[in-house]
Amino acid sequence: MAELHTLHTLRCALRAAGLALAVLAGAATGAEPVRPMDADPQLEARVQRVAVELRCLVCQNETIAESMAPLAVDLRTQIRERLARGESEQHILDFMVQRYGDFVRYRPALQARTVLLWGGPFLLLAVALWAFWRQVARRRGASACVAEEATEAATEVVVEPSPNRTQATAEPLHPAVRGRVLHWGVALGTPLLAAGIYWQVGEPDTLLSGLGAAPALIDPHQAQDRVAQLQARLQTQGGSADDWSLLGRSRAALEQYPEAANAYARALALAPDSPQVLTDYADVLAAAQGFRIEGEPLQLVERALKIDADHPKALALAGAAAFERGEFAAAAVHWRRARTHAPPDGEFAQELAHSIERADMRAGAGVAPR
């Protein structure tokens, strides 16, 4: 049917059959290395942590972390970029679920629709135990009858005193006690064993957290409505540069970059000399044109730097622009300057440190930009 499907189902199947090496070696032209050359181990570990939570929709029984399908490679790139930009892991998972649905989660979330999936095994265990108890009760009823008959028989026998009598009364206890121990053993042991195994190989964390409060997710619709309200109010009643910036930030958070750019344009008209507005505007414009800074965004950044030559975000964007052009040494210079002016312990500073490392490596190695 669909292209990625058939081709990669085939690839998945071949790999499963252990034939993959030979075939893939022939068809490896499209395959990319799992990790880029300039991998930063800390970031890669976080990418990995998110990637193992996501199903590759092309090779459906693999996670994005394992799959070599081009889509999985792209998604890993997205995860890497988003983490580098400072997004939280949960936010990235939500982003993927919004686009690909709940199925993209390799471990299904515990929610109303998946209660049967999560609770099913426990339900089955309960049913099995119930059946076991019934069986035991029926047997006990039956054996009680047998015992009664046996006693009757015994009394008949006892009419004629026998030397074996003491032995006969002492022995029947044994199997009864043993039987009771077995019943209790099975009745308690089975669920305990099941719980133990579940604890080891199952997902007790998800289950327990699901039993607590349901995670509060922001409804994207709701957020959208609120932002639309804000925009309507600003358009009818007007607002300050800060108000328009707020709208721009909200639009950017919803990844509506062209709309965000419009809002920042209004903010900039009200505050033409604010380096913050200039750089924020440049940032969303760059996002709107596919995360490229070249062109208008770069002009805005340059304007911001003319006003405040030490503005950290403007410097960071200028560095990114240089990196984009393949001028890695220049990028590192910008980023180093940004770092001296950024708050020292924040994620921003950390990210800058990673970027500087990358730029230094590229500059040193003289690698062409990809």
């Binding site: 292209e3 499907h5 092309v58 998604l75």
Partner: protein, 174 residues
Amino acid sequence: MKRFLPLAIFALLVLMLAVGLRLDPREVPSPLISQPAPTFQLPRLEDPARTLSTQELRGQVWLLNVWASWCAACVQEHPLLLELAREGRWTLIGLNYKDKPEAAKVWIQRHGGDPYRANLTDFDGRIGIDYGVYGLPETFVIDKQGVIRHKHIGVLTREALRDTILPLMRRLDG
């Protein structure tokens, strides 16, 4: 009663398996249905200096067809798209997904022409990810308010077009 219990359980299992086998696990239902279509502003294949944004498509019902020259299945639906374009009523937008522009242009010429009002390029597949694309071809129906109303996964067929997509578009166009 008791004797039929195993039979009943067996029948239930057969029923569930029968239903399960008919489901296609590859048809992942899109969570984007009735959600606002992700916005974009993308360069055109023929003239990368000119862009088209989702904003400019507001007010019309449009089809977004995700394709690529490397997608063998896309060849099958191309004649249908050309037919649809000849009708002239619908705005057909192509999203050229992770393709080389030269290869894409050659492919269009070789397969009977360009059915798209605009053919947009998504070189790195970012917009594809935004739309939850995981197999080619895929086709989205987007309404006048910019809301995704339908997603067709796989090759467009005459039946799907006649029975589902076109009636939906007519209704949306009102």
